[in-house]
Amino acid sequence: MSSFCKVLLSRIAYLRCRMLAWAILILPAVNIVPAFADVDSLHFSGFGTLAYARNNQKNISPLRDVTQSVVSVTSIDSWVLDSRLGMQLEYNISTSADFVGQVVLRDKFHANFNNSTELAYVAIRPHSNLDLRLGRISYDAFLMSEYRDVSFVQPWVRPPSEFYGWLPIFSVNGADGAYSFQSDEASWRIKAQAGSSKASIPIGAGYDLRADNLFGVSITRQSDSLRLKAAYSQWRTGSEPSAFTPLHQGLDAVATAAIPGVSAEAADLRRNLSFKDSKISYLTVGAAFDDGVWLAQGELGLSTSTAAVVPHGIVAYVSVGHNFGDWMPYLMLSSSLPSNDLRSATNDWGTVSANGLRDSALFTVNATRIEQETASIGTRFQLHPKATFKLQWDNTTIKPSGYGLWWRSIAINNQITRVNLISTSLDFIF
């Protein structure tokens, strides 16, 4: 890439960060809310986070989620890792129909208006127990997957990366239906959704991930202080990263060369390096308890993929907090264990002069594994009924070839790294 392009790209990234920072600072202060609030059927509201994070390693930088823009590995601090601003417009069409639109500005690879629009749907209620939504709707897979951008409602600076960081889907183009009912002392909600989704991921010059044939079901039980949720979701990847094309072509050539052992290994690597047509599934159970004094939350998830290159495995976290007036100190432990073993060479490809190709393929298939655990301690302070301040310290241990959630120097790929990350945030709603 020419130096001019590098300067231009860094300038664009800089301007985007400045626009986000100014929007976060200015928007809640301007007098937009009362103007809309007086109009009965139209309501404008929003949420935001202004956050700063700093880590202690000069060869590694954290990701909050895999759709974020490329960051230099030498960068040790960031204002955009967790900062975001969401704006929502609701239009009450009738007593049984609404329109909701939501735009979220956050650090994103290839951000534009289309992929910043998280919600744009029409909701109808044909019966008081039944909700139907059509359009761009929230992705319902985990306990917090429908509101992971809204830090104000979460105890922590960010949802645990081990659980939410590798999930590329934020919203779904499609439809969902939810049936609610009361039983004993609890409310139940059974929901099903179907559709497709897209996300831009920074692989090579950019990978437009297409999640096709997406389908999910969930059941939620809410009693006074306890919320329980179980969910299953699956989708099929409909696109391939163009950056993988030379690798795929090379592996295809070796696979068809009919060399004993080598061709079978090449075919296996080719299959496991194919995003396209791989089937991904998530199965999760979660619980959240909040009685105003104690807060406890945990989730356990199992994800599967038919291709090793798509991150998958067992993920879990548990967190406990206690309210002391306006302060709530908390602890959290989270972990991600990949289901796919670390791959290594089983044959010498020297007969086709392709040991370099084999090593590249092995490096790539191992590069997306996520194997790490984090212990976090922090506190939340209720500044105002609509604003909180948080301070959090994360200590993360990343296992060899488990760096899928970090921008890192290749030199550290085969070693254990411990990272300390200090984060602070101001979260608000308006």
Binding site: A37, D40, S45, F47, G86, Q88, E90, N92, T95, D98, V100, Q102, L119, Y121, A123, R125, S128, N129, D131, R133, I137, S138, E146, Y147, D149, V150, F152, V153, A178, S180, Q182, E185, S187, Q222, D224, D290, G292, Q382, P385, K386, I429
Partner: protein, 149 residues
């Protein structure tokens, strides 16, 4: 001397007002044509937290959709209402509704300007439910629950 007595009077009036406000009874009201006669705090809490959207009119009766109306977000009446109803602080209620609103799961109840507006709205709308200070309530609406903070 005169300034001092004025300040004393103001302090007394403020204390009296505060005392009346914090001790006042809150009544939950529905339209006179609503078949529901009484409601439990739990039933009302479920309506105000978006967990149900209809009145429990008894077995065999057709369910009646509920349109829930809220008092202004920062009003002391709202704070006292939730405290007396289910023990939730306004901070928790705000966070609860922010989660539902921004996930698109359920939209919060409509907010009215004050108790008089709530009274007028419930008078007009057969499906409405709201709460007011007992001092403003009239026979034009039906009281289904009395709450004391």
């Amino acid at each position: 001397m005169r300034v001092s007595s004025t300040i004393q009077t103001l302090i007394c009036l403020t204390c009296l007002t505060w005392s009346l406000e914090t001790c006042a009874e809150i009544v939950v009201i529905v339209n006179q044509k609503n078949p529901v006669q009484t409601m439990t705090p739990r039933q009302i809490s479920d309506l105000y937290l978006g967990r149900t959207r209809h009145f429990d009119t008894g077995k065999g009766n057709a369910s009646l959709a509920a349109v829930v109306y809220e008092q202004p977000k920062n009003s002391p009446l709202r704070e006292a209402f939730f405290h007396a109803l289910n023990g939730m602080s306004v901070d928790r209620v705000n966070a609860y509704w922010a989660r539902l609103r921004f996930s698109g799961e359920v939209l919060p109840p409509k907010t009215l300007t004050d108790s008089l507006a709530a009274l007028e709205t419930v008078q007009r709308d057969r499906n409405a439910i709201s709460y007011v200070d007992s001092s403003v309530v009239s026979k034009s609406v039906k009281i289904v629950l009395r709450l004391k903070d």
